[in-house]
């Protein structure tokens, strides 16, 4: 076990973690951020996506100890304040881009990473940026529309 400080959603947590602990385990089991989903655990599906220093990365492929000194953002840390949604979250609701919702946190965080870098992406750029996130019920058309809509709102 090692003692570390982990910056998650702007708050620093002092934790004791196993050397072999994956970031997804720490986020869910120790800190209770359940929006980060267990799914394939192989880096294929993107359900465990978090932002690491603003980039969408996979918490099932990162040791917690490797996440020290980096800023982690989970879906719980995206909204600007309690009771208010981030424009990307709102766009996903408005465009009907959420069905079962399992992939949604990963999709939204991947979209945030894209829009921070490319504020006005075209549909192909959006599809490419979300290529690490699989959806098995909503389909991708509404998700891409939601990201386009969020981009317009964030202008």
């Amino acid at each position: 076990m090692k003692t570390i400080s982990l910056n998650v959603n702007g708050k620093v947590y002092d934790l004791q973690v196993r050397d072999s602990e994956l970031l997804i385990e720490t986020l869910r089991e120790r800190l209770g951020f359940k929006g980060t989903k267990y799914s394939c655990l192989e880096g294929e599906c993107g359900a465990c996506t978090v932002l690491v220093d603003g980039k969408n990365m996979l918490s099932c492929l990162m040791l917690t100890l490797d996440a020290q000194d980096r800023k982690i953002t989970t879906i719980e840390g995206l909204a600007p304040s309690q009771g208010e949604l981030h424009p990307i979250q709102q766009a996903f609701i408005d465009e009907g881009a959420v069905q079962c919702g399992f992939c949604t946190p990963g999709m939204i965080l991947a979209a945030k990473s894209l829009l921070d870098k490319t504020p006005e992406p075209g549909p192909e750029e959006i599809a490419r940026a979300l290529d690490g996130n699989l959806c098995r019920c909503t389909g991708y058309v509404r998700i891409i529309s939601a990201v386009e809509s969020a981009a317009r709102k964030l202008k």
Binding site: D19, S20, L22, L41, L58, A110, R128, G132
Partner: protein, 277 residues
């Protein structure tokens, strides 16, 4: 239940410290981006006693120009390779290939050194780096700095040490990368072809063609290279090229599907470089 078996984690700040840890541990594992290595740990019964992450070693990061070559630190992420102006200018085909590896989050995490050191010869980068005549630098377990051919490193599973840099020599102005996947773009290719050459007095020079059949180690097409060397790009004969390619690949058992893809790729290379020149 924990996903990974227990091991001891080390995060050295220097290559010297990393080498000491590597030598001291009875069952060490070096960790770069983690996208191959951590997945492997989830699927195998064997487990390392010590995991040595290389992410804090400054010497292993960054891309710079060195004696005309582009020198890429082993811990440079694939996304950083894609966005590097030095790579885009000096080896655009490498930037293109890196942009096609796996998915966006994987490219943010995976490193060029980890990709090579995993020795998965069937993925995108080995064939591309072989076509570019890339050389590798590594620190051997004893501490001496070594350089060598990429192909030799990939075939040698016994070398212990730490891969430090990838050197890509100056490239000609013409390059093409074609890859084919079974279902989606994000998949590992089932076949890929890399072409690189320069132009001198309107004829091809330093022609390099490498094929990744994924069924065998990537192979340079020496007969095809010799055939095209010194030729005018607009006057290449597709039939001659196919014949040379088949001779080059005579020892590789290729199915009709892959052969037909290669034929089509050669046609496209001829068309593309004819236009570009």
């Amino acid at each position: 239940m924990p996903i990974l078996k227990d091991f001891k984690y080390h995060a050295p700040d220097s290559l010297k410290e990393a080498l000491q840890l590597l030598q001291k541990s009875p069952k060490p594992m070096l960790l770069a981006g983690g996208t191959f290595a951590l997945n492997t740990l989830k699927k195998t019964a064997a487990s390392p006693e010590d995991v040595i992450t290389l992410r804090k070693i400054a010497e292993l990061k960054g891309i710079r120009r060195e004696k005309g070559a582009v020198a890429i630190g082993a811990m440079t992420s694939l996304d950083e390779v894609v966005s590097s102006p030095l790579v885009q200018e000096g080896a655009p085909v490498l930037a293109e290939a890196c942009s096609k590896v796996a998915t966006t989050p994987i490219r943010y995490m995976a490193t060029i050194g980890g990709n090579i050191a995993s020795r998965f010869y069937w993925v995108d980068l080995p064939a591309v780096l072989m076509a570019l005549d890339a050389r590798l630098e590594w620190i051997a377990a004893g501490g001496s700095r070594k350089q060598g051919e990429l192909a030799d490193f990939l075939k040698d599973h016994k070398t212990k040490g730490i891969l430090t840099r990838v050197f890509v020599p100056p490239q000609g102005s013409l390059s093409v990368y074609f890859r084919h996947t079974q279902t989606m773009d994000v998949d590992v290719p089932v076949l890929a072809l890399v072409f690189s050459a320069g132009l001198q007095a309107q004829t091809l020079k330093d022609v390099r063609v490498c094929v990744n059949t994924t069924m065998a180690f990537p192979q340079r097409l020496r007969k095809l290279e010799a055939l095209w060397q010194g030729r005018k790009p607009g006057l290449l004969n597709a039939e001659e090229a196919r014949l040379a390619m088949r001779q080059d690949l005579s020892t590789v058992k290729l199915d009709e599907y892959r052969l037909s893809l290669l034929d089509a790729d050669l046609d496209s290379v001829i068309e593309k470089i004819g236009k570009a020149a």
